[in-house]
Amino acid sequence: MNDFALMLSGLAQKKIRTILISFSILIAFFIFVVLSAFQTSLSGTSDTGIENRLVVMNKISPTQSLPVAYNQRLQTLPGIQDVSYFQWFGGYYQDQKATITTYAVDPESFVRINSDLSLPSEQVEAFLNQRDSVMIGRALADANGWGLGQRLPLSSNIWRREDGGYTWSVIVRAIFEEPVTGISDDWAFVHFAYFDDARAFAKDHVSTFLLETVDASQNPQIIQSIELEFQNSHAEVKAVTQAAYAASFINQTADFGAVLIGVTLASFFSILLITATAMAGAIAERSNEIAVLKTLGFTSPRIGRIVVGETLLLTIIGGGLGIGAAWFAVDALRNADQFFSTMTITPMTLASTFAMVVGLGISAAAIPALNAMRIDVISVFQKD
């Protein structure tokens, strides 16, 4: 037996209380980790490889388009390594409710920038060489039973064709196996030129340019130079990092970061109060035992350390289980729905969660530990 055994033994005295408090802590940290993973997926910060990506869109609104000719001007600006562009297609297959996230992209630059897409080079070649090609993700292919060479009538719920129709006939020529940063494996990509030639309006215009910069640390200056370049033109631009672009989508409806901080703080303080109150109660109930320990020769600081250790153990058990449960939940969400496919529990999330668990344990233990250290042996035994 040692002090750790005494801590365990303290927790084991009131099993139901220990289980309930642990469960409260579990729930709090489960919610925090899952929300953090979700925020990470929204902000795109789960991947460290995209810091050097910028998004350029119309200054008025992302729904307003920009001339595709901006492509050449952007390429000439200093600090820019590569430029790609895309247009939201708004696709569906047969049934309007069966939406497929589809973009019309410049195929060459798309493949260059997304060189981490996992697919054979011959498929890349086939996709690039045939303008009616569509590249799809494995999840989308499997969900619909589609294979290479299959012709698909891909319809748009936004764009009308010059011939009055809404459907572009495309052939599956490439299937990438895994999602990559910013690209889910249930998305589809068609050639911009193939799409643009047939659409009835907004020709030669795109919604978004995606840029790669040479040095991410220079992004603020590059952003400034891009915006200056198109100042006073008929379509002024706004440039942001890709992470900020992703986050802006969710922030259109709510400041998710603020929501996360609010929820976290509220749950943290609730759990802090619950744990501290429960531990203070437990110490009060055990004042006789603590008096006996002091009589036997346990010093007050040592008893204080045992109480802190016991509380810390409680929060680590609850917090650890919460992190574990969140791990499984995030994994399940990733596999269940493409919307959650980029959810990631980052090392930073784990580290900050663990720091919060420890912080909670120490904070909640402070008053109970002080009470335990102050227990007066004579007063306790006189009560007997």
Binding site: D3, V292, T295, L296, G297, P301, D384
Partner: protein, 244 residues
């Protein structure tokens, strides 16, 4: 190896007739509202190593206060308490804790065992304050439980033991660190006569065979008869009757 050898921490045996504990003109007062209540004033006493001292006296005479002072749980307002040649009243709380863990064993009226711990874990508690390794601790715990006749109950929790058995576990706990002094506060106060006799005989055995110095507070004259030295505390002074 004898029981005494097993429990010995290596100190030289204390010879009888050597003074182990001295109270030198000790005073203790309490404040009750505006009133100052004097429990003792100028109380002096020598206790020799190997004594089995019983302290009797009417309620409120200060028997438990005396025990608290002897055990370093309380401090005198005046005078000195000298243990084995060194004053203890000036020690810091942590020094007193260390001293208690090394030199003093306690037996309480209501046993004060940890309800959720087995008998052997209860007995092991004082040894957590030593630097003994696990095997040494286990050996000592088993020896102490063997002395009190409860080795076969070492896995039992207090609620699975009778009152007498619980007090025997408490005695094993008081004994396990091989203290020079055992302080017992009404150790038979919660027991029936037959069980009380067992406990008193056990304390007598610890005193006679293991040479433990025991100070026992009791209300019971029959219990006091097991001691070798009977003190009566009243009005802040001792009256003594020695057992020949």
């Amino acid at each position: 190896m004898t029981v005494a050898e097993t429990l010995s921490v290596g100190d030289a045996p204390i010879s009888a007739d050597r003074v182990l504990l001295t109270l030198d003109r000790v005073a203790k007062r309490y404040t009750r509202g505006r009133e100052i209540v004097t429990i003792f004033d100028d109380l002096s006493l020598d206790i020799n190593a190997g004594d089995f001292v019983s302290v009797m006296g009417p309620s409120g005479s200060g028997k438990t206060t005396l025990l608290n002072l002897l055990g370093g749980l309380d401090r005198p307002d005046a005078g000195a308490i000298i243990f084995d040649g060194a004053p203890i009243q000036g020690l810091s709380q942590s020094q007193l804790s260390a001293w208690r863990s090394r030199d003093v064993g306690f037996v309480f009226q209501f046993y004060n065992l940890m309800a959720h711990m087995s008998a052997c874990r209860n007995v092991e508690l004082p040894l957590l304050l030593s630097k003994m390794n696990r095997n040494e601790r286990r050996r000592r715990v088993e020896t102490a439980l063997d002395i009190v006749g409860l080795l076969d109950r070492k896995r039992h929790k207090p609620r699975q033991l009778s009152g007498g058995q619980q007090q025997r576990v408490a005695i094993a706990r008081a004994l396990v660190a091989d203290p020079k002094l055992i302080l017992a506060d009404e150790p038979t106060g919660d027991l029936d006569r037959a069980t009380a006799t067992e406990i008193l005989e056990m304390l007598q055995l610890l005193n006679r065979d293991l040479g433990k110095t025991i100070v026992m507070v009791t209300h019971d004259p029959a219990a006091a008869n097991y001691s070798t030295r009977q003190l009566h505390l009243d009005k802040g002074q001792f009256q003594e009757r020695r057992d020949e």
